[in-house]
Symmetry: D2
Subunit: 252 residues, 4 copies
């Protein structure tokens, strides 16, 4: 026990002791200035348009950056005249030819104007980061479902902080910051993936730690993987979700 | 050492052993559905306009949410007819009346059209999170400075990932996700503050861990604090930086 | 940038700001006294003898707490008159009937007086924590081998901080503090196992984080498991290592 | 949502995907053998005697490694003929001349045979790691006190896992593994100190994270410091605690 009396005896020593550890450091402002390396110059885009260093994955002209996830051949989804694409029922998911790790991702999506069906079957699609970790796309307007499966959820893992959708039939933006999981040389998860999501500019996933691959049945778990494609879902129920203006910036 | 031969002896046991620990879990999809609590509905704003749950700090009409940081009286900065405000030289910083912890923050700023002076003296201002942690505002267009003091830096701590400014004289957006530091009951830092910054939509601070209060001279360090105001800087060199459309959403 | 001049302007505010966060707390000594729960009383043993709350796994009288790892029948190793046991070649590993999680473990071992063979084949055995994570037993006296396989190593993972063996043929003590790994509900590693080892009273493993199951070939990796037996190795090369005085205390 | 049907569509892709990330590695045992650097050889001591690489702080012959904490002059405690020392009332704490960081520490202590007074005033002393972090020494035999102040506690912070004392008047051993706290360049705590304590061979502090300097009144907090002496306490109440056989091994 440290007693009042003995504490007094100790004061002299402690003052000496702390003196060794006291905060010290530079005494002029120049000492804490850093000059290198110089960050790259990036020209921003206007109103969601891709910045100068972005990889444009879809600009409405063609599907050149994509293949069918079913058979690796060309995409069978609809290419629309207004610069968007729409899921074609039962043709399967599509995915980028390029593999990605850590990314900033921008995309826009909308549900069909006429709402059809209920719950998970109304305008359901998904953005699969690295082909495995799904951010839900769904028309939740006057259409409830389980909250870990609602629009903007990390499907069956991460309930969004808010329901921030545009009205049915109008465009939504997803701005995503994603860091891939890291694995040990033996294949065990060492650092989980994280995702931050702004839905129409509103923060709804806040550096969320992903627990593993999306599982429709059962608990999520990780299996080691490297860089992998971005995948968009055909939910096989004629959901007819549309996408446009998809670009990524690779992060370190 | 685990030898080939003994490994064989061990196989039977290990199979039994692993059986106890094997992955198991729900076998139907309903078991992993979550229904409560239900996330709030937030109506998004168009083109950077505040969403329905935002606290609007400045909409161009008045300074009602702000006070002078010098003497806690009313703000002496310029209120412009175009819905913006401009720093009035040597009137001091201004800060919100309200204290904040974790926030999503949106604001827009621009430098004067005519560039004046060099380096840290060209359109310098700053956004001080919780009155202590400064995100740099500066006109860096054709105006180099130390990189940990350039536009979008966490001043003298966090070099931005890119230089993503609009041209001199045009509006910039800052979208910020900020988590306040956490302290032990004795006042020591337990969890550092973090900041994510999109400058004109481009990720330039990526969940950056702040090392302590901004120091012009010396190393950063934390001192315990609670919620605190948002502060904007008068750099006292007639920098005449303007701000508009400032809103926050409080995060948990 | 924070300038000298503006820093002066800011001083008043900052003092106010820090006042809210300044360290505060109890002002009398009684406020920080804790009275419950009361830790259990444990009577220490003399000279390595088991304390009053230990589970004695081997006291030299019998193998009642053990089975063969090969066929789960009774142990075929030698029970010696001096209160020790000795590995009987090619009868296989032995393991406790009881499963363990976090433990403090004490055991003693010795190599045969007459050194035989070289490297990994001189008095090789092993202590397998939870049947999977091996602490090496080896006669390293004037017998070099790879350092991540030497006496006291976490085999092929953790080089010991020192080589602290008794002379060949004399008893060694191992005092081990072991925490089992923790897994997610989906089976992924969440917290690695740790081991601290005092070899003859000398710290040679210092809260070492185990990377996964011991692998003779390849990288270590985790597979989910629950509580599991303590296992001792027959290295199948007539190594004739002896053990005695084995006890554990279960930790929370 | 991941549907049964779409999951089937996805199978082919996922198999391909996982193939990239599947566990791979060395296929021969030699690839995972490490040969350097070679750990030092340390000759163990018998029955608590110092190992060959220990710094002997007290062997019963003299106080050459110690000074008074009060005035930095020579120690006024009793040097006994049996190779021990005893606190001399009101002469103040004593401390090593040498400063230490991370250490393994062995010491032995006993209370006087005749118990005097109650609670915190019965044979109270303390082992102050780095002059600041106290492990309690107290005669708790049939003498209750607050549990975060009982024998083996990290005083007012860490309740021991057990009360493992020898009978009043008999020698106790403390075997301690201590890691010093780490501080940022600005002086904030970055990694707390940890302590593991075997009391008479029984684990009673298990990698405990210290919250800050010991406080008799108020909450613990850290202040930056470097290496510092080991200090033993004079509790100023004629507690007459004795010590012997004190040695340390410096850890990295």
């Amino acid at each position: 026990m440290m007693k009042r009396q003995s504490a007094l005896f100790g004061v002299f020593t402690l003052i000496i002791g702390f003196a060794y550890g006291q905060k010290s450091g530079p005494t002029n402002p120049e000492a804490t200035e850093v000059y290198e390396p110089i960050p790259p110059r990036v020209i921003p885009g206007k109103l969601g348009a891709p910045p100068s260093d972005a990889i444009v994955l879809f600009d409405g002209q063609h599907f050149d950056s994509w293949v069918s996830s079913v058979d690796s051949t060309k995409v069978k989804w609809h290419l629309n005249k207004d610069g968007s694409m729409t899921v074609k029922d039962k043709t399967g998911n599509i995915q980028t030819k390029q593999n990605f790790g850590n990314i900033q991702l921008h995309l826009e999506w909308k549900s069909p104007k006429e709402a059809q069906r209920e719950g998970q079957n109304r305008a359901n699609s998904g953005v699969f980061l690295q082909q495995r970790y799904e951010i839900q796309v769904l028309d939740n307007n006057e259409n409830d479902t389980y909250v870990n499966g609602q629009v903007g959820s990390l499907y069956k893992q991460g309930v969004p902080l808010a329901m921030a959708s545009s009205p049915t039939g109008e465009w939504n933006t997803y701005d995503i910051i994603y860091h891939a999981p890291e694995f040990s040389r033996g294949g065990n998860i060492v650092k989980p993936a994280t995702v931050t999501l702004l839905h129409n500019g509103i923060l709804i996933q806040d550096h969320f730690e992903i627990e593993g691959t999306i599982e429709y049945i059962g608990w999520p778990a990780y299996e080691a993987h490297g860089k992998a494609p971005l995948m968009l879902q055909d939910h096989n129920d004629n959901s007819r979700v549309s996408f446009r203006n998809i670009w990524v910036r690779e992060l370190e």
